[in-house]
């Protein structure tokens, strides 16, 4: 669906932000893009809907090259993007007007716009707030509104660029649930984040970047096996348990899996003890 070929990008100031990046994203995938601040994650995803044009190499979305200017609007319709600051991506004076902004730009007829706005707001659970002014919404609600604004354009793929970094834990969980639901409904998801822990349980593939290059690409388990530090707290706990001699797997990152592993190890220990007692 998306093919990136030898992509390099140099900012006008002269810094090389991306250095020969190669990757493909398939339809229906959930890809997490991780890495430190300034490693080129945002620059990379901004190439996916032609907000940035490669200095070198190419990006193709559904067979359309992003350098092909007349196709830019089709590309932007196919790949939607939600940004970090919910406040700075609001354009309407009410929620429904904001969600309608995209379909209006596509010059759709009024009844189609109405249908899409209601559909998108229902999908993120904000339909009853549709006539509210943005100022009366919470950060989490605004971010969900921004997602609705993208959904109303019916994109195949949605890029989330650090969308939870300004939210409280409760809203963060709601946003993640919404994103998971969208993936479940067949959307391709590209999720950019610095919080590895929040995305490991959902992502099908992890791509880690450093200094404008791709450092790692693989499943969450493979990712955990490849890194020494900066692992989720749960994984760190499992590693410590294993080092103490407990028979647990150390590539676990979800609470439920960890619980299962630990109880299994405890049961095993208990049985061994009983056997030696009996013997």
């Amino acid at each position: 669906m998306i093919h990136i070929n030898n992509l390099s990008y140099r900012y006008t100031g002269g810094t090389l932000a991306l250095d020969s990046v190669n990757m493909s994203i398939n339809k229906g995938e959930f890809v997490a893009l991780i890495g430190k601040n300034g490693c080129g994650k945002t620059t990379l995803v901004r190439h996916l809907n032609a907000l940035l044009i490669p200095t070198d190499g190419s990006v193709s979305v559904f067979g359309m090259d992003t350098k092909d200017t007349p196709k830019v609007w089709n590309i932007r319709q196919a790949v939607g993007m939600v940004f970090q600051n919910p406040q700075n991506q609001f354009v309407g004076t009410t929620l429904e007007e904001d969600v309608a902004f995209g379909p209006e730009n596509l010059a759709l007829p009024q009844n189609e716009i109405r249908k899409r706005v209601d559909m998108a707001l229902r999908e993120v659970g904000l339909l009853e707030y549709k006539t509210r002014a943005p100022k009366t919404l919470s950060g989490g609600q605004m971010q969900r509104a921004a997602i609705a604004g993208v959904l109303a354009m019916e994109p195949e793929c949605i890029v989330f660029d650090e969308v939870t970094s300004m939210l409280d834990p409760e809203s963060r969980k709601m946003i993640l649930d919404t994103i998971r639901q969208l993936h479940h409904n067949g959307k391709t998801i590209i999720y950019v984040t610095q919080r590895i822990g929040e995305i490991l349980p959902f992502a099908g593939r992890i791509i880690s970047m450093d200094n404008g290059r791709i450092e790692f690409m693989g499943t969450p388990r493979e990712y955990l096996a490849s890194v020494k530090s900066h692992v989720p707290a749960i994984t760190s706990l499992m590693r410590k348990l294993k080092a103490k001699g407990f028979d647990v797997r150390d590539d676990v990152f979800a609470v439920d899996d960890a619980f299962l592993e630990i109880t299994k190890a405890c049961m095993k220990g208990y049985e061994e003890e009983r056997n030696t007692d009996n013997g």
């Binding site: 309407g92 004076t93 730009n105 009024q110 706005v117 943005p134 100022k135």
Partner: protein, 260 residues
């Protein structure tokens, strides 16, 4: 300031249901007529007309008072300027200061005009969603060849609706910058203008940053500044044409009198 941007009061009165273009044109015509009113009878007529419309709109008096309040200083200034600076028969005399009877009449007339202007304008904003106002303006501008100066009616409409949303946001930012500086020791108890220059720099930087973010978000949602449709398409109904006819008749009637 915030109230200016939250003046819309949802209702389903006849005034709410009028097309925004009808209301905009009527407001322009009424404003011109009010600015030419010179007698108390003329002004009284407009005031009565306003009361009738306000009653029809079903909007409480509170909304109108709110729109007048921020302008009170301005009204007082205009009234006093005319009271003291108009030549004529003095009411009393203290030193060089001598308010005149002519000034009293002129000040009252001019201040009343401005009050009426604000009231009629607030009637528009109270009965029309901000997006409908921008939509109406866009539809009226669509017939003007703005592309000769590199603009489109859609650009102007988008700019207006962005301004409506962003003025309160920028005000919030300004407050934040201010608080950040007060918390670092800026003392504004004695002089509230102190630190204005240090407030303005981060504010402008912040606004430019916001504008940049916003432009990216708009572009990624396919904003091209060219032809676009709207969630609320406008339709002139018979009642709209009737109102416009009525307004034309009023203009015709008033144009017969030089002084009203």
């Amino acid at each position: 300031m915030d109230e200016l941007f939250r003046s819309y009061i949802p209702n389903s009165s006849p005034l709410h249901r009028l097309d925004p273009r009808t209301k905009l044109v009527s407001l322009m015509v009424i404003s011109i007529l009010v600015l030419q009113a010179f007698t108390f009878t003329g002004l009284g007529l407009f005031a009565a007309f306003f009361v009738l419309l306000a009653y029809l709109s079903g909007v409480g008096t509170g909304a109108f008072l709110r729109s007048i309040r921020p302008m009170l200083m301005f009204f007082a200034f205009i009234f006093l300027m005319h009271l003291f600076l108009t030549e004529g028969e003095p009411i009393f005399r203290i030193g060089l200061v001598h308010p005149t009877f002519e000034g009293l009449v002129l000040g009252t007339v001019i201040t009343t005009r401005f009050v009426l202007l604000i009231l009629f304008a607030s009637l528009l904003t109270a009965t029309t969603r901000p997006s409908m106002i921008t939509n109406g303006i866009e539809r009226m501008l669509r017939h003007i060849p703005l592309n000769r100066i590199g603009l489109s009616s859609f650009d102007i409409a988008t700019m207006m609706s962005l301004a409506i949303y962003f003025v309160p946001v920028l005000m919030d930012n300004a407050h934040q910058v201010r608080y950040a500086q007060i918390s670092r020791g800026l003392d504004i108890r004695h002089n509230m203008f102190r630190g204005v220059s240090t407030t303005i720099t981060p504010m402008i930087r912040g606004s430019l940053h916001t504008a940049d973010d916003l432009a990216t978000a708009m572009e990624s949602r396919c904003y091209q500044g060219k032809y676009r449709t709207s969630l609320f398409e406008l339709r002139m109904r018979t009642v709209d044409w009737c109102v416009l006819c009525g307004i034309s008749c009023v203009v015709f009637l008033f144009s017969g009198y030089a002084n009203y």
